[in-house]
Each structure stands twice: as structure tokens, then as C-alpha cells.
Symmetry: C2
Subunit: 261 residues, 2 copies
């Protein structure tokens, strides 16, 4: 690993939990001596990647990333970048994928990338509101999204969309727990009969899901091979789109847990 | 300059005008050979600071800055950081400073940092709306802000606040031109008699002013020494707060032109 990359990796020392760090702490976290850590930090500070508080002497992320983030957003807006990620995965699994984002307590389909490989495929409109208790994307949002979302859904009614819709609050909470544990969700015919959905979370800045990336497949086509290919694709898309949104994965969310179902 | 800083400086090659660049172009812009440029870019790409389009092979800013920018914002929100910048400058010039931000076509005082050094000082409320044609902050916003703002002001009425308020559209346009050229604005008693105001722009992502940083002084205290100290302070504050907002200075705006009035 080149020096420059080692210097950049120092930035990984900072987190929401530890936004400010002292020199010794950074040296220890990166298993380097203090002189080296200081040299690296000075390089980062010279570019504005980190800054040091003149009083406390603690380091934190600087302002250069703000400028670069704005440049990035102007050049490659998030939705365009997310679409590119989805296109690549749809080409691998040959099934329709969609991305949905939470707007306050509603989950809204924002991007749809239809497969062109099958004439029988799931067609979804963008801006469609997905019921939180009846779709894989919804369950994922309940599991990883804002804390009060699940309570809000449980406080409301749980409408029936098909004979498989989960309308029992206890069973819904069980599925949310299972999803929290697995990192992804599978929903069979919960919203529409014959539609098999898989979804994984997209995380935002606060390590909270801001939405979900899903793959929807006509039931008869789901095989165990396709299932594992889809989980692979969702794992990659979840990671890359979280990155596109500048999001942070929760510490206990294992990116590869999707595959080890 | 260490290698790591040289690697980071490569990020300066990207701009709103040139968000995507090829290897040769980057090498040329940084006066290094292509092998070195490739090595540097690979380091940056490994951390996600840049990314390469698989088809066009062009490089652009990656997604790592988005994540870092969000971390920064969570740890040090913009307003807090801007206030720290202002405090440092107020301690130098011993006069009240305020920062105002444009909300659509209104300029609103957002932060006020009063000097404690004088009992006679300017007191301003936050959330006060500043008239665009009658304050130094307003003129700066007209000069460097969104294109349609000046026309909008000229289309409306130009109310009188004091006997020195500029109400003649031609004279207003002259002052805007002069401000564009100088990079800052001075307004004497335009809004309130006896108040001498100096202001410099704060730029946002699109190289357009999102607001202004100003220093307001009771008229009798303005000397040529204080004037030049204030312009120094505004120059620093303008640069640092633009950075706090992730903004970009227009290519033709010289940061130090404030001093060379």
C-alpha cells in the first residue's frame, strides 16, 4: 500500500461516534507511531481534509470534503449514479430492480430499472408508494430506518393487499427482527400475488436506512441459484448506493451477511 | 511537499467546468508524467476520492467525499463552524460582524457576533431581512449572487431608509459593477444613519454568492487603519466560511483583492 493511501486511510479513524480524535489516539488506532501519525495528519490538514482545534488540539474532518462533495454532486448527481449502479446489477441477474426512498413516513419508489431479458417481468411505476408492512423494501426500512417508523406503522392499520400480506403486528415484528439479524428481507406475494421481492437497506449519514434497493421477480422464476445471485447483486448495490448517498453503515451491519443467509 | 499532499493536490484538477478528466490531461495540468499521474490517481481511486468511468476511462470525484462531508457536517455543523470563524475575526477588529444568507430573493441575517470591546457598537437581530439595495451585504449579494437577483431588485421599488439610501437604479448598477471589480463593498449610512458597513461574499457550490459576511462600525470609529484591518478580516472570513459551506470561488475572484483596494 502506497504512502498516500495510508495517509488517506487515516480518515477512517473518524466516525459519528468519534468525530474528534487526539494524535495519540489516531496513532494507536492505525498502529503507527506518533511521529508518523503527525506527518500524515499534517499532509491531510494542509489540504483541508482534517483540521485541528487550536484549543483542544483534537483533529476532526476538515472542510475540503464539503467542497469536493459539492463538485461530485454537480458532476454526478446521486440519482444518476444510483441508476448506473442498478443497471450493472440488472445486467447480472436479469430481473427488475427498484430503489425506494423514505420521505418522512412514506416509502416511495424513486428509480426503476426493468430487465430487458424476459418478456414476463415486473413493471413498477416510479413515485409509487410502497406499503411498509407488505413489501420487502418496506420491512427493510422498518428494520433499519428511523426509530419511530415501526411504531408509527404498528399504530396505524395494516391493510391487506393479498392473502399473504402480514397484518398481524406480532408476526410483523418477528419479520423485522429477522431482517435486522439477516441484513435483508424476502417477501413472497405480500403486496401482489406472484411477485417475489428481495430487498436490502440503503443507509444515510446517521447510519439509518434512507430507503431500500430491491429486486422483484415473477414467482415461478425464483430458483436457489437466482436467489443467491440476487442477494449478491443487492449486497453490491446496497454498498455502492449507500456510498453514492454519502451514507455510513452501522458498525454491526455486515456487508457480506447478505450472502451468508 | 510530501507525496501524500501532491496526491491530494491532484483533486484540484477537477472543477465545475471540468468535472471529468482523462489521464493525460491530469498529468499535463499537474506537470507530472503519465506514470506518476496514474499512480497518484490509483491511490485516490483506492480510497474512493476519485472514480474512473469504465467506458470513457475518464476520472471524476468519487463518493468518499460525500461520506466524509456528512461526517463533518454531523460533527461540526456549518453554522457552528462559521461562528467560530467570525469570533476569531471579531477579536481582531473589535467590531460587530454578521453573516447573512440568501433565501430565494431575501437576504437574512443568520449569525451575529457582537464585539465586547466597545460599549458603543452596532446591535443587529438575527433573522433580520436586509434590503439588497441599501446594505453592503445586499450589494455584495447582487454582485456575486444568482443572476436574476439584480433584475428582480431593479424591477421592484427601491425604498428609502436614510438620506444616503441608493434609490437611483443607474447608481445602484454602478455600485454593483464596482463591487464585482473590487470583490467587496462599503456602504455608509445606506440603511441606518451613522452605520458604516463593509461586506464580502460567501460563495456556494455553483460559484455564486449564497450570502455575505459583513462588519458594521459606528461611523466615528472608522479610520484608515481600522478599514484595512476590517478588509483583512473579511477576506479571511469570506475564504473560510466559503470553505465551511463547501463553496467554490469563481476563477476570476481574487481572494486577496480585498486588501488591494
Amino acid at each position: 500500500m502506497g504512502t498516500a493511501l495510508k495517509v488517506l486511510k487515516l480518515l477512517d479513524s473518524f466516525s459519528l461516534q468519534q468525530p474528534e480524535l487526539g494524535l495519540s489516539q489516531i496513532a494507536r488506532m492505525n498502529q503507527i507511531n506518533k511521529a508518523t501519525a503527525l506527518r500524515y495528519l499534517t499532509n491531510l490538514a494542509d489540504y483541508g481534509m482534517v483540521e485541528q482545534d487550536p484549543q483542544s488540539k483534537l483533529y476532526s474532518i476538515g472542510t475540503a470534503p464539503l467542497r469536493l462533495a459539492n463538485l461530485r454532486e454537480a458532476a454526478k448527481p446521486r440519482l444518476t449514479a444510483a441508476r448506473i449502479v442498478m443497471k450493472a446489477q440488472v445486467l447480472k441477474v436479469h430481473e427488475t430492480m427498484h430503489m425506494s426512498l423514505l420521505k418522512s413516513d412514506q416509502l416511495q419508489t424513486t428509480l426503476v430499472e426493468e430487465t430487458q431479458a424476459h418478456s414476463v417481468r415486473i413493471s413498477i411505476g416510479t413515485s409509487e408508494i410502497l406499503p411498509l408492512h407488505a413489501t420487502a423494501s418496506g420491512i427493510v426500512s422498518l428494520a433499519f430506518g428511523p426509530r419511530n417508523l415501526l411504531q408509527h406503522v404498528l399504530d396505524g392499520s395494516l391493510p391487506t393487499y393479498s392473502e399473504h400480506t402480514l397484518t398481524n403486528p406480532d408476526r410483523l415484528m418477528d419479520l423485522v427482527d429477522e431482517t435486522l439479524h439477516k441484513g435483508w428481507c424476502e417477501s413472497v406475494s405480500g403486496y401482489e400475488t406472484g411477485v417475489h421481492g428481495f430487498a436490502a437497506p440503503i443507509f444515510g449519514e446517521e447510519q439509518t436506512a434512507i430507503g431500500a434497493i430491491a429486486c422483484v421477480i415473477p414467482q415461478p422464476r425464483v430458483t436457489s441459484d437466482l436467489r443467491s445471485a440476487v442477494l449478491d447483486a443487492l449486497s453490491i448495490a446496497s454498498k455502492e448506493i449507500t456510498s453514492v448517498y454519502g451514507g455510513q453503515f452501522p458498525a454491526n451491519y455486515r456487508l457480506n451477511q447478505l450472502q451468508t443467509s
